[in-house]
Amino acid sequence: MTKLALVRASKNVVDGSTSGDLDLKAEVCVVGTGAGGAVTAAVLAEAGLDVLMLEEGGYYTSDDFTMREKDSLPHLYQEGGARATKDLAISILQGRAVGGTTVVNWTTCFRTPEDVVAHWRDAHDVKGFAYADLVPHWEAIEKRLAIAQVDESTLNANNRKLFDGCKKLGWSVETLRRNVHACMQTGYCGLGCPVNAKRSMLVTMVPDAIDAGARLVFRARADRLERRGNAITKLEATLLDSAGIAPTGKKLTVTAKRFVMSGGAINSPALLLRSGIDDEGRVGARTFLHPAVGSAAVYDDDVFPYAGAPQSAASHHFAHRGGEVGFFLEASAWYPSLMGGAAPGFGGEHLAFLKDTNKTAVHVAIAIDGFHDEVAGGRVGLRPSGAPVLDYPISAHLWRALRFAHKRMAELQFASGAKEVRTLHDPGVVVRAPGDVDRVLDAAPFAIGRVPVFTAHQMGGCAMGDDRARAVVRSEDLRHHAIENLYVIDGSVFPTSLGVNPQESIYGLARLMATRLAARK
């Protein structure tokens, strides 16, 4: 039995789908096992605390990862990969499994930009920590997760086109840092790494936590917290069947000294809302998505966009645009179902788009929301069933940025040798020459239902900050302003988006805050 299978088979791990009713006690109950929850649980367990982790998703390992979307989508993604904003304008890619989104992300790592941390301090009263406080925690995480900058020679052709195009245009561009060890360049990061090269939470901090004595119940959906005065007294959860869909009829009740919400943006605020904690509308507000649009370019030479590490280069040349919304540029993974759904048209038109797959590069422009009044994010609410739903309006300001970003993508694609650029508009929009970029894309409709927008980065909804009239949790320890044993430690505490892929920001912040929490035991 492999190490990971041994961990899963540990007596500390309970499969909720086969369990009877459970009534558990712990010093700390951590809800969620993604970037925030796994790090928090590991730090606290290693400090000697009695930690109980809850996870709604299943516990899968590399033996289960078949590199096929038909297997990964229903098991590893929220709502089977079909989660979307309330008006269906934005597709939401978000993980749901032991290890959270880190199991399916594309391994890109950035520390939080220093200017973003400064902005939080100056504009959002985040005074409980400084950038320098995060550095040793990032360093520790980088060592544990083998985060390192990739060599330019390893870029696949998709990333190479991005890199070369930016260079030719004089735009800043860099190779990325990835959390991989002995990466075999399978290209399947988004479907669960089949060879455990990705150092996700599944293969690092979750096993660390369990090795240190933490317990884990998976297939357990946290329904609500029970509050009495300024304290949470217990958590109630529903145990789910092996598919993670239907309740088994069994319940889990947890009593703990402290409760840590680490379900990520959308799910953490939803749990608070289901518990009647809305903090006068602040819970769920200012949820950010890094809304992204894609551009496909056809080249004469082979690209094979699905081969090799999906993301290994990025440009932040347009991250700071003053009064306009900034964005950054990265390559996209390419999987048949992902692109089958994204490609425009139907019948022959759709097939024609995909027939050029092996000579197509796909790049994405990722908008940096939360820094302008006109792009202040969305709001998480609840459906009648209690399931979360995100209302995220796309303002004219944001559409303008997405159009501008599309033009820049087309320019870099032509600069790297593209013979034709195709947006994902439906009906399709094609730019056939560099000189046509402005004319064609100025005429293209940028509106809901005309061009697909998606997100792989969800942030905010439980903002941290020291002004309790504006924030949900304190910045010094991520404790709720009024409820003394309730903490939120995940990406939902960011008061803006980040302008970079979020996983390492969450790791560093979680490790800092869990370390502080452990010191108070």
């Binding site: 709502e79 079909a82 083998a146 139907f346 005309r450």
Partner: protein, 181 residues
């Protein structure tokens, strides 16, 4: 008008028009296929409409019934409210009277000729009504996304997946996975 309001008003409007316009909207949905297993989310009528929709949208050679069952499976993961919305959307798509108002057709979608069905798809795609566009895109994308999970569709687009077994043979020992490199 948000999506839910549109769907509800569309259905209600359809019902009112049914009363006023007599038999026009009473034309039943045509059975275009037979489910091969029990449906979980889709109603029987929705199944027929979605098979008709998928038949026009999917690449030639696709098995529309298999894809629609795959959509039904995928929807199981969505909240119950989304199940209701999806069935309502397909009902609206099928209904001849809203179709008459918006698309100028007098038959349910399932009873139209292929060319007329394609025209309806374009009407929804290009509609000035936002929720019709997003509804159409939701149906189109979920059908195509499910369809392309089928390996039979990969050769025509040149996609060559790596076989899992070959990777397993050379994968490094995951006993190292729980410790620092």
């Amino acid at each position: 008008m948000n999506r839910r309001t549109f769907l509800r008003r569309g259905m209600a409007g359809g019902a009112v028009l049914i009363l006023g316009a007599g038999g026009l909207a009473a034309i039943p949905t045509k059975d275009v296929a037979t489910p091969t297993r029990a449906l979980v989310v889709l109603s029987k009528r929705s199944f027929q409409v979605l098979v008709a929709f998928a038949t026009r949208v999917l690449p030639w050679g696709s098995d529309a019934v298999k894809v629609v069952h795959g959509v039904d499976d995928m929807l199981r993961c969505a909240p119950s409210e989304a199940h209701r919305d999806f069935n309502d959307l397909l009902g609206l798509f099928e209904n001849a009277l809203p179709g008459l108002i918006f698309d100028g057709r007098v038959l349910p979608f399932t009873r139209l000729s292929p060319a007329a069905q394609d025209a309806v798809l374009r009407h929804w795609r290009d509609s000035r009504v936002e929720v019709r566009r997003t509804g159409y895109q939701a149906l189109r994308r979920i059908c195509l996304a499910v369809a392309y999970t089928d390996e039979a569709l990969w050769p025509p687009i040149g996609y060559t997946a790596r076989p899992v077994d070959s990777l397993r043979a050379i994968a490094y020992d995951d006993s190292k996975a729980g410790v620092a490199p």
